[in-house]
Symmetry: D2
Subunit: 401 residues, 4 copies
């Protein structure tokens, strides 16, 4: 993780987080540990509980606690609520969240006295926080780290775009070329999935409810249609909407025999498991690991991947380390910002400042060996000036010259 | 122009611009006339001068004046300053600009008494207006119509992406496949040019100064490098930066014999004509129409297209009518908005409200015959709710489950 | 035409065609003249008539006759049969054909005494010649120059792929992005059209009767379907089949209002003009040059481009000069071959030897500045050896190792 | 395997292989067993040994022997030579080979009396057989089943194109987007790897020694350069040449720190392991399974995947079952052909007849639910006729009309 490492080295030298209590409710993994170490290097005290106890690596948790001195409230398989309570009681000043659980818990416990604000790294968490804010019940600034431009570029479009398809191929060993793949949702992640699926030779169909995004999908050369029409066409379905029940009984009823159902959205609600189970004439059979077969009355079989949970993480190995590197370097910089100027932000979900993004991208390009130009002083002045250039005006748009 | 036509029909029924004096400083073309007619249908009085007198179609100007009753201050080839003065004296309440000339003139003339605000449709104009605003000298809201999402999707990326390459191919009759094409600037237009050039079989190299955009270009599989390195590699160069002197003597000195230079940015300043002329050992020779050959001391020849003016308009026929349709429908809706709720916006450059974009995209998809789903009430509630779904949490990112 | 120029320079030095009577029935254009000059440089006597009198450039014809001493039987607009007779009477030893007219005429006139064989540059011509051969009526070898690998790569796929779409865009000024483009025929040219259309953002549908080609199209991610199903879907139709009546009444009857019909195949028979005229309720109206509107009984309008003649040539400027360069350099080399070793080939349509192709591609890569490796002697020996390498065998295909 | 199943069902009904002794030297896997069952269903006696004992699945071998009555000479891990001898002694009449071992053994043992001919499924095997034929030492026809059009379309380009990259991603968990991937060899497999790598966002560089293929790569928009120049550029290298020592000391010496080396060719000779080991300052370290790190004197590290053995099979799960389905269905049809008309073919490597290919593709399209048109009698007659159509000739290529 070369980008995060560069940040950590600067933190160690500058100690921008000196004495700050930072609590994180994240997946307890090796990558998270690297982020914690960067925060510790910056002078912070660090508390940690598990966003999902099933993913906790106890060795990582132990090492963080014992070697690094973090306060760790995570044990694999343990119920998360208790750990969350303990972490709230620890009185964090800054929080890092994966789903907004910790921020919500702090608000519910009314434990905001020392609290400066937080970072949230999932779309789902932001939906919750914006709803909270709309209800007048969010009292601190929260930086939407996963809406940062560099995140959208790197994590959503490219990271998940690749890893969702990797997950599907690993689970099924299918050839994507020649298959019809239906992407439901054309946000950054859906764009990535669509682009990679086409790049692998699939016929790609997009379902999207937002007209501007739908128009963009169409301009990229994808077919765009309602989900019901797509249901008859697809060999593989990938949901990435952030919305529940995107695929449901009416769609299952018209799908082809052997259709593959995968979810690449955060929660396992995008494919309606309830309606799928209700339609099936018998309990699902695990064909091969991660692939369950649902048999319908008319003999058709639908193949659900990874129980409807996010397919890139469950079937693959999650994001490549370099995607996590970018993400967590961005979070470290965002924590630094929130500990400084960002503390003055108004309550509510706030964008990550452009400068942080640019810094992350700059560090990453350096790691890739890509060099950039800079504007000259004259060019900078031109760009900022509002006097028109002394130059012939352009001819008319839309007319023959 | 089916989208604008739908807008005009609604305007005729609802008369949302009744009695308003709307002045436009645009290219006086058939498409502009269609926009003027939509505004007139909405009840407005309309005044018009030419953003570029060279592009004025006198027949269109005459018809607008005589048949439609517009106040037209435009005659092909006439100096624009005088017409601008007359239009200022006409005391417009709303303005439509292509380069900010009219807004600036109103401010300079201190003729803001009745003035509600304006629309600006070029990046270059917005740069001027933002500089004005930064200097505390912009006193009304200006809607950045070309930064609307639908514009970015439709006009910049897809419209100019296609038409810039069309212009180059028409001017040179070259096969793009196998050529190295260097795109300088990776904003929406540069993205479109890069995508279409790759789609035509070119090897594409991107030069960009913004690290996030540069990283995105790299993630799309383009090579990214400084302009000086690219100068040695390219067969064709396309500038789309909004900045001056992007290609200059240092670049010309290392280009290949026969390199083609094209500008797809708004003003003809992106390729430094001064430095090109200074390097050449003799005046340029027009090889074929729109292609000038500059001969350098060492015998190399550089081929400048359309005198450095925007190549898609000069060599091609400008944007396809459907792109203008989207653009001008958006402007009509933006004018309606500014005449209503938008008048209360604070002074400064303001984004077009999302709703307008969505409406434009919706009308366009209808014209393309593409249907969309809508969220159910349950899905809408889920999306807006902040209580977590009752569902298994996702496994850890970045870790094997 | 740098590739042909290199060939001509070698011919001038080596005179491989000394004294040979070579007759060509081609389009009389500047590019053809360059080919003729290369043959003359090689020592040949050259006779020329026009494959299509409408395309004859009299100035070119005159210059070839007067300056170069060719025997030219071509005048713009003149009936071709007479010229053909004169050329037959000239007793050519070698022929160059564009549609097989000259070879057929020589056979019909039984004027084969001195005749060594010919070159044919169109698929249509080869179809005729193979039918002739199958009937036992072709008595000399004919090299299928347009089936050479380099031709397929350069001319069909890349040249026509680009120029057919250029032609459509120039005729209609349409934005390809977002349109559904139906390609009928997925040979090399159809592949090029499909690839470029996708590269321009179109949704591409392929119709093909050969199962292997159809499967390939599907593996490339195109939808494949029968023409009747595609007829309902397309905004633009491009025929490239070599077969007649590919689009006919049954298809016209289900097309969308405003559908655009273009042919990129050699002859104007792929779109059934007879059935189109019969369906229309009135004679077609020329909307804009090259675009005829046919109005059907139910009000739908179909737009035929360039009267059904090959759209890349009629609406655009034909192939880029560099494509002609490759083609004609290949023909010059093929003529040299036929004058030498090739004369011993059996009667019938024969492939161009691989070596000629390789030489053409080599010269072209040199012009593009692309360098290649060569095999070392060891590698060459390995490649040619049949003793198995001393190396671990590979694991099993289709099984986990 | 729906395509092979359809073939097997017909074989069971028609018994085209009645009594024939067919011997196969293939990887002993579940897919191979399915092929054997199809041959048995056709009436053949079947003998089997292992092309690679490491890949033998003993359960599959046992089931074939016990249940199906095949003569199986394969046990996991056993030396192959002995089994080969036994199979030769079994006097096969037809052979199926993966590397030509069995055919060569039959020739060396002079056991050709009853032998009709064979099938060979690897490029490497064909190289051996053609060398044998050139030496006048191949005495029976051998069908080049992997050169069949459907194989090239399905197996090489699409199957290996996807699975080679899958293998690399699984071994390294790397994000392909933004990486520079060098493909050495631009045959069908190299084309597939390049296409999929670009589709995954990589910057793709091609090295190729054949000028026509190199030109095609360039026309597809890839950079083409000698291996030594590419060595400095690449993050990932994939060899698919069929030649030895394509990457060797001179290349290793200029590669970037962290460069990844993968072979997708048949044998593990394309990356020179000897030169790599000689350059390294210590024995390689297994970083993670399938990834060995070689440390060079200047501190750079090179990462060799799967010990230089074919990466798609070793790191991934080999070809998707549907690719094997196509391949083995094609082999079953080829065996039927060789048992019938094909037995009369002259000695030497022979192409698979077009009809077999078409049949395979037809069955596969049926499985995909894709329907095709057929030519009408009129169209068929037109296509075969050599009289010119009564239609306006086309305008001139390369000239303005």
């Amino acid at each position: 993780m070369p980008v995060l490492r560069q940040v950590r080295e600067r933190f160690a030298a500058q100690r921008p987080l000196e004495g700050l209590r930072i609590a994180a409710c994240l997946h307890v993994t090796a990558e998270t540990a690297a982020l914690m170490r960067a925060l510790l290097a910056g002078g912070a005290q660090v508390g940690l509980c598990a966003a999902n106890p099933l993913s906790t690596r106890d060795d990582v948790a132990a090492a963080l606690a014992e070697v690094e001195g973090a306060a760790v409230f995570a044990r694999r398989g343990e119920a998360p609520e208790e750990a969350l309570d303990e972490l709230v009681a620890w009185r964090p000043q800054l929080t890092l969240d994966d789903g907004a659980d910790l921020i919500v818990a702090l608000h519910e416990a009314d434990a905001l006295e020392d609290y400066l604000g937080g970072l949230e790294e999932t779309t789902t968490g932001l939906v919750r926080l914006r709803a909270l804010a709309a209800a007048g019940a969010l009292h601190r600034p929260v930086l939407a780290v996963n809406e940062a431009r560099s995140e959208r570029v790197f994590n959503d479009r490219y990271g998940t775009g690749q890893s969702a398809l990797d997950g599907i191929v690993r689970a099924t060993n299918m050839l994507l070329a020649g298959r019809t793949l239906v992407v439901l949702g054309y946000g950054p992640t859906g764009q990535g999935v669509a682009q990679r699926a086409r790049g692998a030779g699939a016929v790609v169909v997009v379902c999207e409810i937002d007209p501007v995004r739908a128009l963009e999908a169409r301009m990229e050369g994808y077919e765009v249609m309602p989900a019901l029409a797509a249901a008859e066409r697809g060999d593989v379905f990938v949901t990435v909407t952030g919305v529940r029940d995107v695929l449901r009984a009416e769609h299952f009823q018209v799908m082809k025999d052997g259709a593959v159902l995968a979810n690449a959205g955060h929660f396992d609600v995008e494919i309606s498991l309830g309606e799928l189970r209700a339609l099936a004439i018998e309990p699902p059979v695990e064909l091969i690991p991660l692939v369950e077969e649902y048999r319908l009355e008319d003999g058709r079989r639908l193949h659900l991947l990874t129980g409807g949970r996010v397919v890139n993480l469950a079937a693959g190995e999650g994001h490549p380390a370099e995607v996590m590197d970018i993400s967590f370097a961005g979070q470290a910089l965002a924590a630094e910002y929130l500990a400084g100027d960002g503390a003055a932000l108004p309550a509510g979900v706030q964008p990550v400042p452009d400068g942080l993004d640019v810094e992350v991208a700059r560090l990453k390009l350096e790691a890739l060996g890509v060099r950039l130009d800079a504007l000259s002083a004259d060019q900078q002045a031109y760009r900022e000036g509002w006097t028109p250039p002394v130059a012939a005006p352009s001819p008319a748009p839309g007319s023959a010259p």
